[in-house]
Symmetry: C2
Subunit: 372 residues, 2 copies
């Protein structure tokens, strides 16, 4: 049995929500939490100082991109991805499985692995389950992900089954090539598209391989929210209760709240940072588009209840001015705010769980996020 | 007589260099110092937190740009340009005189003022000496600049004389429309192109108008360094010893060092921030281009002697990776470093003046900056 890096410290009797502590080689991660996405070892437009200030505990980076540029061995020689990016906390690396989905026009799948044409220079790049573990080990990842096939949406049940079987075989090979004694944890990824039966089967099969943690992948690909919730519930049904659960690629603030209620511990999504760069800012009263002319002379902050540097220091009028003039400071400030908002949701949920007040927290935030 | 906001606290017996304290409505500015350029009320890619951390004391903003977008009255209604940009120190505003030079294809000059076509939407915009003071007063500027004609280089002596005479008439009108009892100081600008006689005449005429401070404008427009030095010396010859002197638009690290030796107190230039965004980083051993392949696996900082956040935290290899991948974090980190380097030059000069060691400081830095 692999050791369990996860301890549950509080649960909600009325739902599957839980608060936990995930031990990594670079310290504990208090869950539930949200991982800002730093695809190329940089969360776009913000520094590690900003990430620390908004309460980020763990950051995501991408194996596919870093293996191509600047190269996993180069990062190893520079002390690992954490030192490389100046981040003194843990890093989770995605395996490249998402690129199987997002770059499906430029890759060839085989049972052995995936042949990509590099997005940078078109050169050939081969990724197998073993190579993904090897690259993530070179990167010094604290949490490595198994290479999987992120099944596109929609898929027929037959397609989903074939894809999920491949992902399972790759999980076996990943597990076999992983050095359990090394510092990095390896998480398996359950697939199964939006067929609840397949979702549960995929999770159960994966669980038989005994990973330190598990993820549900292939979500947030355009499916309706109800289908997503059902897929998540079915995945979690097949996973061991006491191991950490990571919902990959999710999502909206409501997705986070719902995911926590269903028992998810870790989240990641480009939405807060990408939307920030486009001028869309999240608040508990809904999203605002900073370009809207009603913010032209608004001396108030984006969110009066937000303690982030952006809200403490700058008016909506100033942020609108920066965005309209494409000032490069805007993406930083907007990203700081959106990440701060996302982290306030997950960390507020944790606090409420520790106090036994999650139902109340859920209800209030649900109403605020869905009003109008 | 207008009150003198400036006190000289140390001088170098071997040169015209001096250390001073310039009192503004938002606190003292220790000179010599360098003012980062925040044309649109934002120093590109860095926040006021970064500016404070690199040692900036006063920031420059541009009247022409802010009057067009978002409008001087809007900024007044939001509490002034300092509050608008979240900067708790003084701000100097350029008058729009530089745009007379830089936008000379889209403006019409007359003795009355300048008619611009807005760079944003082509709409007409009229700037006169009186309107420039009015707009800067609305912005809440701590140091306002007189509207001038920044004479292009090269110019014939006749052209330079006509331009300088117009600038003087505008300085008279600016002085007359300025409220001495208000919080903002008004600085006059000497022109005269690269004719030493005109430079001195322009400065003397300006001095007769009794401003709280003076600038030499029309420099760094492509002239040879020797011509520049001569023009600066000739300008300063005509200016009162005890008032602050601002060298507009300068320059390279060597320009700063030479300028201080000649008795300049304030500098501004886009070079450190613009070059940063292009991947050019300054060090006491010369400039480096971060894209150069020799930095590919360099685990050392840009400058081992630099205490800035960028040098304390990140390797050249990481910065090269960020720049090659156009990661939006790069401009921030590079700008932090370059501004830190510029400010270390001027503040190092001040320290050496206070200790009576300026000749030694000058010699060492001069040799470092001109080696090879």
């Amino acid at each position: 049995m692999s050791p369990n890096p996860f301890a549950i410290v509080a649960t909600d009797p009325a739902s599957a929500a839980r608060a936990g502590v995930l031990q990594t080689a670079r310290g504990p991660v208090l869950t539930p939490t949200f991982m800002p996405v730093g695809t190329r070892a940089s969360v776009k437009a913000v520094g590690p100082d900003d990430l620390r200030a908004v309460g980020a505990q763990i950051v995501l980076a991408n194996t596919y991109h870093l293996a191509l540029r600047p190269g996993a061995e180069l990062i190893r020689s520079l002390g690992g991805v954490q030192r490389f990016m100046g981040w003194d906390g843990p890093v989770l690396t995605d395996s490249g499985g998402y690129q199987v989905y997002s770059l499906r026009d430029t890759r060839q799948m085989s049972p052995e692995g995936i042949r990509f044409a590099s997005v940078y220079d078109g050169s050939k790049f081969f990724l197998s389950p073993e190579k993904a573990v090897e690259a993530q080990t070179a990167l010094g990842s604290d949490i490595m992900m198994c290479l999987d096939e992120c099944t596109p949406y929609p898929a027929t049940e037959r397609e989903a089954q074939i894809s999920m079987d491949l992902t399972f075989k790759w999980a076996e090979r990943s597990r076999a090539s992983w050095d359990e004694r090394g510092p990095g944890l390896l998480f398996g990824i359950a697939q199964g598209s939006f067929y609840p039966k397949l979702r549960t089967e995929s999770a159960q099969a994966l669980a038989s391989l005994d990973f330190p943690g598990y993820a549900a992948g292939g979500l947030a690909l355009g499916e309706p929210p109800a289908a997503r919730r059902e897929a998540i519930a079915a995945s979690f049904l097949g996973l061991p209760e006491l191991k950490p659960r990571y919902l990959m690629g999710l999502g909206t603030p409501l997705d986070l709240l719902e995911g926590i209620k269903m028992g998810a511990d870790l989240f990641d999504c480009v939405m807060p940072s990408r939307n920030a760069r486009n001028g869309q800012l999240f608040t508990a009263r809904g999203k605002i588009n900073i370009d809207n002319s009603r913010h032209r002379d608004d001396s108030g902050p984006v969110d009066p209840n937000c303690p982030c540097y952006c809200c403490r220091t700058f008016s909506r009028a100033y942020l609108r001015h920066l965005h309209r003039n494409r000032e490069p400071l805007f993406p930083r400030l907007a990203t700081i705010h959106n990440l701060s908002f996302y982290l306030s949701i997950v960390h507020g949920a944790r606090e409420s769980l520790l106090k036994g007040e999650f139902p109340c927290y859920y209800k209030e935030l649900y109403e605020a996020l869905t009003q109008r």
